[in-house]
Every structure is written in C-alpha cells, then in structure tokens.
C-alpha cells in the first residue's frame, strides 16, 4: 500500500504522560493519551479526527506538530521547504527532527486552536499577530511584510484596516479568521485545526467552515480536522478517523464510514447525535457508563466494558487495527461478522 501523494504518515505513535506522586515525584503510572496509532494524510485532503473528550485527539494533533514530544513511533512528513535541489520533497521524522529542521518544519505545519478568545495575544495588533510568523522565519520585512499581511487578511475575509486593531475589538468568528490568517501566513502545507468551530455560534460556524474549504482549494492545503461534532466532521472531511481511549477504532472514507460503520463505538457515536428532525425515531444505542481512565485502560479491547457486542475474547485479547477492504481500517475482533447499522440510508 504505497501512496505517492502521502503528505504525512504516522506509525505506531504513542504519547504517554507520566503521573508523579510523593516527595520524590516518582513516576507511578502513565496517562496513555495516544496509545499506538497508525494513519496517513494525503496531500490536499481533509482527515477528520473525531472522538469524545479525553480520547487523545488533541494530543495526537500536538504530537504531530511536535508541540509535545512523542513517547514512541514515527511521524514522517514530506516537507517541500526542506527539499534539496532536484528533490520534490524531503522525508523528515518530525519526532526526531533537529531544532533547525523543526524551525523550518513549523513553516510547513501550522495549527488553529479552538478558543479564539484565549489564543490571540490581547496586546498585539492583528497585523503583528498575522505578520509574526513571517518575521520569525525571516520571509518578509517592512512594506513587503505589510503587503503579505494584507493579502492574508483579505484571503480570510477581513479588511486591511483591521491590521491596526486589537483582538478584543473582534467577534468570535472574526477572531477565528485572524487565527486562520496567522496559520496561513507562513504558507504551510498542513494545518491542524483543533476544534476550530466549536466555540462559535451556529450561523458563524457555517461561515468559518465554508472559508476553510475555500482556502483549502486556493492554497492547496491539507487539513487534520479535529472535532467532537460528527456532523461538522462529516461535512468537511474526505476521510474520518474515530478515536477512543488513545486508539483509532475506525478509519475510512467519509461516506463509507457513515454508510457502513464497522466498529460498535462508531455506531453508538453516530446514533447518539441528536438529529434536527422531530419525526426521527431512529433508535438510540445506549452506551452505559463513562469513558474509562486512560491511566488504567481496561484489558483486551478497551471499549469492551461499554460494548453491546462484547464477547469473552474482547476482555482478554487486544484487537488488531487492520484493513477490512477498501482502505477501511477497524480495530475490532468482529469487524467482519457484526451487522452494524448506518444511521441513515440515502
């Protein structure tokens, strides 16, 4: 399985956070936030990463950008900016990249955060915020810098005279546009969007989603789109990965995933989303209890305590993440035999 247009490949990525106790701060346990995930992102596509709070989706994004050092695994990124003469790209392992390589990589990989209120420095003007990446990387200065900032503000639908204003003068949706302009200004290949619309009102959410789509086409961007809202993920993603307790339980093309879910957690998650239709009487699948602690995940398949289809083997054996055909990956012992419901046909 070799794709020529893969931009990023993640192999067996793990990120554990130590839990320390006592005077000596001894490590007594680990929070297994990301516990061995494999995936790739193709150039120009949007990979949606969905799951409930604490499933490790944000940590995955952070580790891919090396905002957190991975505990194990490879993060292979095909960087255009690091490519030597005559090369189309250079493969870099983000996890072990040197400081110098990392600095250059940061121009290729950017992030948009969830909360546009706390992610913008209140003492910096919008112009300074959007222009800072260009200054740091020495790509533009003086009037050229100003032109670039104007260009990116225009691209996200803000006005040139917004440059001199401060973040508090803007609404939530506009602040998210500033964040997007800041992420765009170093001209990255990959943008990790971590819940970019969940703090916004519904009418504004649609504006930002459409903007992200337009920018993707215009600048040839690749997105890792992290969200908890299945409807939003379905709307924006080409492929979707569903995470649960640090693992990817299912990954497939968007339409395939929604029409043909193969993991019981995906089925339950889909059925839990309230549908804006009062006549919908689709039966809900009830998940009992809460997500277990990632410090001490259950043995075997970590979903088995909440799974309606669990059998003896699920309590003891860890299911393997495998391709069940059509690049549809599932982590379930019974992926081939379960007859799971898509929520809607048509």
């Amino acid at each position: 399985m070799f794709h020529n247009n893969i931009l990023l490949e993640v192999k067996n990525l793990k990120k554990y956070f130590p839990v320390r106790k006592g005077i000596l701060r001894r490590v007594v346990a680990h929070v297994k936030a990301v516990d061995g995930i494999d995936m790739y992102i193709k150039e120009g596509e949007t990979l949606g990463l969905v799951g409930e709070s604490g499933c490790g989706k944000t940590t995955t994004g952070w580790t891919i950008l090396r905002m957190a050092n991975p505990t194990a695994g490879d993060i292979i990124f095909r960087s255009k900016k690091l490519a030597g003469p005559g090369e189309e790209y250079k493969e870099v392992d983000v996890g072990s990249a040197s400081r110098k390589q990392l600095k250059s990589l940061r121009r290729d990989m950017q992030i948009i955060f969830q909360d546009p209120y706390s992610s913008l420095n209140p003492r910096m003007t919008v112009g300074a915020i959007v222009g800072e990446p260009l200054l740091v990387h020495g790509t533009a200065q003086g009037s050229e810098l100003e032109d670039r900032v104007r260009y990116f503000l225009d691209a996200v639908g803000l006005k040139p005279d917004h440059m001199k204003r401060f973040p508090h003068e803007f609404s939530g949706g506009q602040r998210q546009r500033i964040m997007i302009a800041r992420a765009l200004s170093p001209e990255p290949q990959l943008i990790v969007a971590d819940e970019p619309v969940s703090a916004l009102d519904v009418s504004i959410q649609a504006q930002v989603l459409n903007l992200l789509e337009d920018l993707q086409k215009e600048f040839g961007l690749t997105y890792l789109f992290i969200a908890h809202d299945l409807s939003v993920v379905r709307y924006i993603s080409n492929r979707v990965a569903v995470m649960y307790l640090g693992k990817i339980v299912e990954l497939a093309e968007t339409d395939e995933l929604f029409a043909n879910p193969r993991h019981p957690y995906t089925e339950a998650l889909m059925s839990a989303v309230p549908v804006p239709d009062p006549d919908s009487n689709a039966e809900r699948i009830h998940l009992e209890g809460d997500v277990p602690s990632p410090v001490n995940p259950p043995p075997g398949c970590n979903f088995h305590p909440r799974c309606g289809y669990a059998q003896a083997i699920c309590k003891t054996d860890n299911p393997v993440y495998r391709d069940v055909g059509n690049n549809h990956f599932v982590t379930c012992h019974f992926a081939d035999s379960l007859n799971l419901r898509p929520l809607w046909t048509g």
């Binding site: 649609a206 924006i236 006549d279 809460d290």
Partner: protein, 326 residues
C-alpha cells in the same frame, strides 16, 4: 390553564455604555407536563429570560415591564410583583421552579458533598429532618441513574465525572418535585454519548415527576428531540413560535430558515455546501431600528429597516415576527 404565562417581559441592563435590551417584549406560555424549547445564538436573551423567571436578575439588570404568571395549586402568582429575595419568592425558587445550568462543575459547590447540597434544598423547602432528607437524596440519586448512590451521596463534585455531575444537578433540581424545571443548556458541556443519556433521563423524569421543562439550547438537534413547542429568539425578541414539527418542517422566519441551512447534518451529503447567515449578530447597544434581523436577512425589504414586525399568527398556532407575513 398554562403553568407559566410570560407576557411582554422586558429585562434591560443599565450599563455605562447605554441600555442593553437583553429581553425586549417576550410572550410565551408553558402547559403542564410539556417542554418548551427556546433556541437562539449567544446574546439572544434566552438565558436572561430564564433568570428573569427565577428572579435572579441582578443590578444593573432590571425587569422593566411585563408579567410572569405562575399557576400553581389553583393559585395564580405574578412573579414580577414579588420581592426577589422575599419569603414568597424564596419558597418558589428551588421548590416550585428549579433550574439546572450548563456547567455542572461551576454550579455545584466544591466544598460540600453531593448529599449535603441535595439535602439542603429538601430540608429548607420540604421541612424534612436530616435523616429523612438524606434518604430522599439517595432516592433522587437512584432516580437519575447514579450507581451506588449510598456511596456517591458522600462524595464531592470533583469525584464525579461530567455526566454524573449533571445527573447530580438534575437530582438536586427535582428533589422538591418542582412543577417547572428550567434547563439552561444542560448538555452543552457533555460528550454526545453522555448527552444522549442525560436527555433520555430528562424525558423519563418529566413523565415520572409530571414536570414542565423550559429547555434552553442553541442545538437544533437537541430541541427536535426534547421540545413540544419551540420559540426562536433573536436579539431579545421572539421571532418565531410554533409546535416543534412546524418549526422544523415549515420554518417561517428567515432567521429560522438561516439556522436550518447553516447546520451541517449527518444526513447531508458532503457535496452540498452550507448556506451561512451573512454578517454577525449586532451589538445589543447598537440594535437596528426596525427588525433586528434586517441587516442579515436575505429577504429584507425597505419596510424592515424602520418598523419592527409584530409577532403574528401565520398559520394556526404558528407565529412569526416578519413583514413577509404581515
């Protein structure tokens, strides 16, 4: 007779920058054992409406005009006439009308056990002894589906998960068997699978305790599941009011239309593009002269700029405040 009848309610905030008309002439009613859904975006006045009913508006806010009639035990009380901290209002708040909030972590007191907080209400309003109140608290925790309630009753809020905390909040709110439960975005902070559990629980409890619910949310999916009747609010006013099927199957107001078109649905194919509402919600201090939605409305006419449209019946039982229908 409706349980709660709100008429022309106005709640203004007198700030240094000017008067904020957070709730500006709102009329609705809730029948016994029914759920009224209130939808709208941030700043539309839905939470202020709830707080006004609870008489929890604090300075610089003030109930400017209107009546809030509560019909209870054959008695009709206008809540706006009561002193907010008076004996009568305090006997209603938490007892006949109870409220649950969005964030269970900040709404529960971290230094008291769950049991302490539930029994406080029961002892205060129902006059039960400590032992009996504790028994009732455990019963309530059982009713909201908390496992091993005898143990949980002595735990502190931080020892519970988000979903459990919200269940504890619901147990507290329902512990005096109120006739009206006000739920202000009760599941917004929860994960979808937990949200599904809590919503089903609320529907079950409504039937069991014969409570009416005023359900405030921005989530149209949640409204479709929970409400019998829906009011849509925008800039402090009700722009549309109809039974839940009418709102979803035949929305009248351009704002309701806009909301429906701007949410991605699981049903929707990826190929379709979202149609957002243009612009942003105006600042309440600079609210438009005429219809509040006029600057963002695709069907705006000359008339909309200067004149506020009245909320009028368009089809039986379906009201909209729009010049398209007036």
């Amino acid at each position: 007779m409706p349980l709660l009848d709100v008429r022309n309610l106005k709640t203004y905030f007198y700030t240094e920058d000017g008067v904020v008309r957070a709730v500006d002439g709102v009329t609705f009613s809730i029948d016994p054992e029914r759920t009224l859904g209130v939808v709208g975006e941030s700043g539309c006045g839905k939470s202020v409406t709830a707080r006004a009913i609870m008489r929890l508006i604090q300075s610089p806010g003030k109930i400017e005009a209107g009546e809030i009639f509560l019909n209870h035990d054959g008695e009709t009380i206008d809540l706006t006439k009561l002193a907010p901290m008076g004996k009568k209002m305090r006997s209603i708040r938490g007892n006949k009308i109870a409220m649950i909030f969005q964030e269970p972590m900040t709404s529960l007191n971290p230094v008291y056990t769950i049991g302490n907080q539930i029994t406080e209400t029961i002892i205060l309003h129902q006059g039960l002894r400590k032992k009996e109140a504790r028994k009732r608290a455990i019963e309530m925790l059982t009713a909201v589906g908390i496992s091993s309630p005898e143990q949980r009753v002595d735990e502190y809020p931080h020892q519970l998960s988000g979903g459990m905390r919200q269940r504890a909040m619901i147990a507290m709110a329902l512990s005096c068997h109120p006739s009206l439960l006000i739920a202000d975005e009760p599941t917004t902070a929860l994960d979808v699978t937990i949200q599904a559990q809590v919503l089903d629980l609320m529907n079950d409890l409504r039937k069991k305790f014969r409570t009416s619910i005023l359900f405030i949310t921005h989530d149209l999916g949640v409204i479709a599941k929970m409400a019998d009747h829906v009011v849509v609010m925008y800039l402090g006013k009700i722009v549309e009011s109809a039974p839940v099927r009418g709102i979803f199957k035949d929305p009248k107001h351009p704002y309701t239309h806009g909301l429906m078109n701007s949410i991605p649905s699981l049903k929707m194919s990826r190929k379709k593009r979202l149609v957002p509402i243009k612009g942003i919600v105006p600042d309440l201090l600079e609210a438009p002269q005429g219809c509040g939605f006029e600057p963002r409305c695709p069907s705006a006419m000359e008339k909309c700029k200067a004149h506020i449209p009245p909320l009028k019946e368009v089809t039986p039982n379906h009201l909209a405040a729009c010049w398209l229908y007036a």
